[in-house]
């Protein structure tokens, strides 16, 4: 790479940095550019410019992403020149309701992403978006009266938050995802599982077995304390590895296949 090209790339890196930095940090963009120009060695100048770009880019991109919310989260929060974290923190302290709404939208978005990945039907996604809309509407209605000092609205909001915090299920609740339906035509099923399976939680086969049973499908289940995931024919100290083939044979005889 020729010296002129290296110099041109260094200049390009500096200009990119300047174009990305928020107005409050523009002087630092110029500082990097002028400093790079002062370095006599072309390679070192290029490395200096690229290093600065990489170091400051996260801050610049974060400012760009937050810029549309600048008027929303606080007056001049992003132009005061302080550290970004402190600015966001200060703005959050001043506008707790905005933070709450942002958290609600974020959590619903994460939930939608999870359900989309898990293959939930579209109506479940719509229901969750609807819940967010209902929540925001209630907040808009009740929140306004709270500002005028009506305490019942405050307690209503607290109670609503409380119901959200209590999922109403214990840790060992075993249910299939609500959109998974088990057909009564499913074949007789044998489930062999180890409690210490690190991949598939023991609640999954239990939920499956209960759902099959509810649908009237015969289910046989053998559970072991140890065995891990994907135990096979290779013998280990765990009884599951030696016992399961005979259990399959016995089960096949039970359902009349052998």
């Amino acid at each position: 790479m020729s010296g002129r090209l290296r110099r041109a790339l260094a200049d390009l890196a500096c200009r990119t940095l300047q174009a990305t930095l928020p107005p409050s940090l523009q002087s630092w963009g110029w500082a990097v550019r002028c400093e790079t120009a002062e370095i006599p060695n072309d390679t070192k100048a290029l490395l200096f410019a690229l290093g600065s770009l990489c170091g400051l880019m996260p801050r610049a991109v974060a400012s760009l992403l937050l810029y549309p919310f600048a008027s929303f989260i606080g007056d001049g929060a992003l132009s005061s020149g302080g550290s970004l974290t402190m600015n966001v923190f200060d703005a959050a302290m001043r506008r707790p309701r905005v933070v709450g709404i942002a958290c609600a939208i974020g959590s619903v978005a994460l939930g939608l992403a999870y359900m989309a990945i898990a293959g939930a039907p579209a109506r479940y996604l719509v229901i969750n978006v609807g819940a967010l809309v209902v929540g925001l509407t209630l907040l808009a209605l009740l929140g306004r009266t709270t500002q005028t000092g009506q305490h019942p609205a405050y307690w209503t909001l607290t109670a609503m938050a409380g119901t959200l915090l209590d999922p109403g299920k214990s840790e060992n609740a075993v249910d299939l995802a609500p959109w998974v339906q088990i057909s009564a035509k499913a074949p007789p099923t044998l489930i062999i599982h180890a409690m210490n399976d690190p991949v598939d939680d023991i609640r999954h086969p239990m939920a499956y077995a209960l759902a099959l049973n509810n649908a009237g499908v015969p289910v046989d289940m053998r559970l072991y304390a140890k065995g891990g995931h994907a135990f096979g024919m290779r013998r280990t100290a765990d009884p599951i590895t030696t016992e399961w083939p005979a259990q399959v044979k016995q089960w096949l005889q039970t359902i009349g296949m052998l």
Binding site: W28, A31, E38, R59
Partner: protein, 91 residues
């Protein structure tokens, strides 16, 4: 390390590239630190006009009184002293 290097300057102005060399840090580490130090009032920054024509101005830095105190309170650990000889920034 940056603080120690700035403290070594004893109130003289330093420049970015020089600081990066003396403190043995990359520019990507240096500038975010300088920005934070300046925002918190530990660092003073000024633009210096070039002594000869055709050269760009330079951004120069030195510790404020609270910055000197901060540097004294936070001496660098068992790091080796940089071998590069210090060259004072020219105004």
């Amino acid at each position: 390390m940056i603080l120690a290097t700035l403290l070594d300057a004893r109130g003289q102005w330093s420049h970015g590239y020089e600081l990066a060399q003396l403190a043995d840090v990359k520019s990507g580490t240096l500038y975010p630190l300088l920005i934070r130090l300046e925002a918190q009032g530990y660092l003073e920054a000024e633009w210096q006009q070039p002594t000869e024509g055709g050269r760009p101005p330079r951004h120069a830095y030195r510790l404020t009184a609270s910055g000197v105190q901060l540097a004294h309170d936070n001496p660098p650990g068992q790091t080796t002293k940089p071998v590069v000889r210090r060259r004072e920034a020219t105004v």
